[in-house]
């Protein structure tokens, strides 16, 4: 076990990427993720990797496409408007079956928005975000520690499925400094797989990276269906807290989930049966977690967006059996005491006949 060190969430994520074997980074600065670039601008050199501050977000994601084609563990990171600019590249990575990790340190707003924390990119990140018929695995850390841990997992999953993996961090996690136990260094062998375009020997088939649609013919449909079905079956991840007997189950990811965990404790102290499901994978959504919520009379999300973006997924996971409520502001992380007040309101309303 390594010693705990103090790190900004963004720095923990960057260091963990290197320790996971990432030796290629391309990105473009934007608050609140710029510390990732700042950190890797000197640190990547120390580990013998390649760091590029690209001319744009689109260029950066396409550089990642190139590095990934050669078998490298490749990373790009951005936030808000910059993450939108990467969507074309993410769609192309999916089309070409390429692993890569793309981080969105979420910030408030559509359009330019602002540099403060937000969780408004849930739909964009879990529904594809670019053109075409794809989705990506999305991991949602809720601390600097998980920024590090999930970064390692992201690279492993990306290679397992030859598919891009997104990390949905946010400004609060990225900017906060917490104690972190960093993962051990791992070597990544560029020649581990037989598909990267690193030159084929005379007796080997030619290697190409291109849109799989063009090379697989009729088998493409089954291939895609199987890949997505396997991800949905095997990769759901979540944390459950006191869900079994809960009459109201909170649902929250990222920084909001920490407020919810504290609110569960506060509500329980008042005799209220409240629990929490924290999705760690936003896609695949942890449908299995909801099987245990047998006593839930309602669900209440807490997220830093106004439209309650996780509500649809909760309704789908539960077959719309019970009402789903939303709480949260785009401007602030909900205060635990305010959330407990909202919990009491919702429980009162459910008792009186629901929505």
């Amino acid at each position: 076990m390594s010693e705990r060190v103090l790190m900004k969430g963004n720095e923990a994520l960057a260091e963990a990427a290197l320790r996971a074997g990432c030796r290629f980074f391309a990105g473009y600065p934007i608050t609140p993720q710029t510390e990732i670039l700042e950190y890797l601008s000197w640190r990547m050199d120390e580990v013998g990797g390649s760091y590029t501050q690209a001319e744009s977000e689109l260029a950066a994601v396409n550089m990642v496409y190139g590095a990934s084609s050669g078998g490298a563990r490749a990373l790009t990171t951005s936030s808000g408007p910059g993450f939108s600019l990467k969507q074309e590249g993410i769609s192309y990575l999916c089309g070409a079956d390429l692993p890569a990790v793309i981080v969105n340190v979420m910030r408030i707003g559509s359009g330019l928005g602002n540099i403060f924390q937000g969780q408004g990119d849930y739909w964009q990140m879990t529904r594809g975000g670019g053109h075409g018929d794809y989705r990506t695995i999305v991991l949602a850390p809720n601390s600097a520690q998980e920024n590090a841990d999930l970064m390692v997992l992201a690279f492993d999953l990306a290679e397992k499925y030859r598919h891009p993996v997104l990390i949905a961090s946010d400004a609060a996690i990225g900017q906060s400094i917490e104690a972190v136990e960093l993962p051990e260094f791992r070597d990544h062998d560029l020649n581990k797989y037989d598909w990267p375009v690193r030159g084929a020997k005379a007796d080997e088939p030619i290697r190409t990276v291109k849109n799989v649609f063009y090379s697989m013919g009729d088998a493409y449909e089954d291939y895609l269906r199987d890949k997505y079905a396997q991800i949905e079956a095997e990769e759901q991840r979540w944390e459950s807290i006191q869900v079994e007997d809960a009459e109201l189950v909170l649902v929250a990811f990222g920084i909001s989930s920490r407020v919810c965990e504290e609110a569960v404790e506060g509500a329980r102290a008042k005799g209220l049966k409240v629990g929490l499901i924290r999705p760690i994978t936003l896609w695949p959504f942890p449908v299995k977690a909801f099987e245990k919520a047998v006593n839930a009379k309602a669900f209440l999300t807490n997220e830093m967006n106004l439209l309650g973006q996780t509500m649809d997924d909760i309704r789908l996971a539960t077959g719309c059996r019970v009402p789903v409520y939303h709480s949260g502001s785009i401007f602030a992380i909900t205060d635990t005491n305010d959330l407990i007040v909202r919990i009491e309101e919702v429980m009162e309303e459910v008792k009186g006949g629901g929505q």
Partner: protein, 177 residues
């Protein structure tokens, strides 16, 4: 859980004071979080950060009501005195704040001329360390000897041994009495 807001001018070592507090908390086996104020900050403007130190898990990095407000100038008091819990502790740098200033009557105010202390000890950048001495003497957050040990360890870990820091810290402790 102890929730602390540190505030003052940029350059007074506000963020370093916050870092030293969470470093000590981490070494004490506690959970810690430091949230900087970030945004369109101006050079020479105010600097502040939020620090939480707890034996339990920490939820939000944001402070709504603070146990301790660690200020280094008057604008910091203007901005953050109102955020103290009743019974909370306000630390005031009398080198830069009017002696006759009045405060809320439901809080504890501990004053010390930490900028003067640092200048007298020829460690002008050590005013924040002197204020940490004031904090150690006027609260039970950390044992003072543990805290100064961790402050020294923090700087030594970065290759900077600053003996005058300890003098500032101890003078701050005395001034708080």
């Amino acid at each position: 859980m102890t929730e602390i807001i540190c505030a003052g001018f940029g350059g007074q070592g506000i963020l370093t004071a916050g870092m030293l507090l969470i470093h000590a908390g981490m070494k004490n086996g506690q959970n810690v979080i430091f949230y900087p104020s970030y945004g369109s900050e101006m050079r020479g403007g105010t600097a502040n950060c939020s620090v939480k130190i707890s034996d339990k898990k920490i939820a939000s990095p944001v402070i709504r009501q603070a146990d301790i407000v660690f200020t280094m100038n008057a604008p910091a008091i203007d901005k953050f005195e109102s955020m103290l819990k009743p019974g909370g502790l306000l630390l005031v740098n009398t080198s830069l704040v009017d002696e006759n200033r009045t405060y809320r009557d439901d809080i504890r105010v501990v004053k010390a001329p930490v900028t003067d202390i640092a200048n007298e000890l020829e460690n002008p950048r050590g005013a924040n360390i002197a204020m940490l001495g004031v904090l150690a003497a006027s609260s039970d957050l950390f044992d003072p000897e543990f805290l100064i040990g961790q402050i020294n360890g923090y700087f030594e870990g970065r290759g900077r041994k600053i003996p005058a820091n300890e003098a500032c810290f101890r003078k701050g402790m005395e001034a708080a009495k």
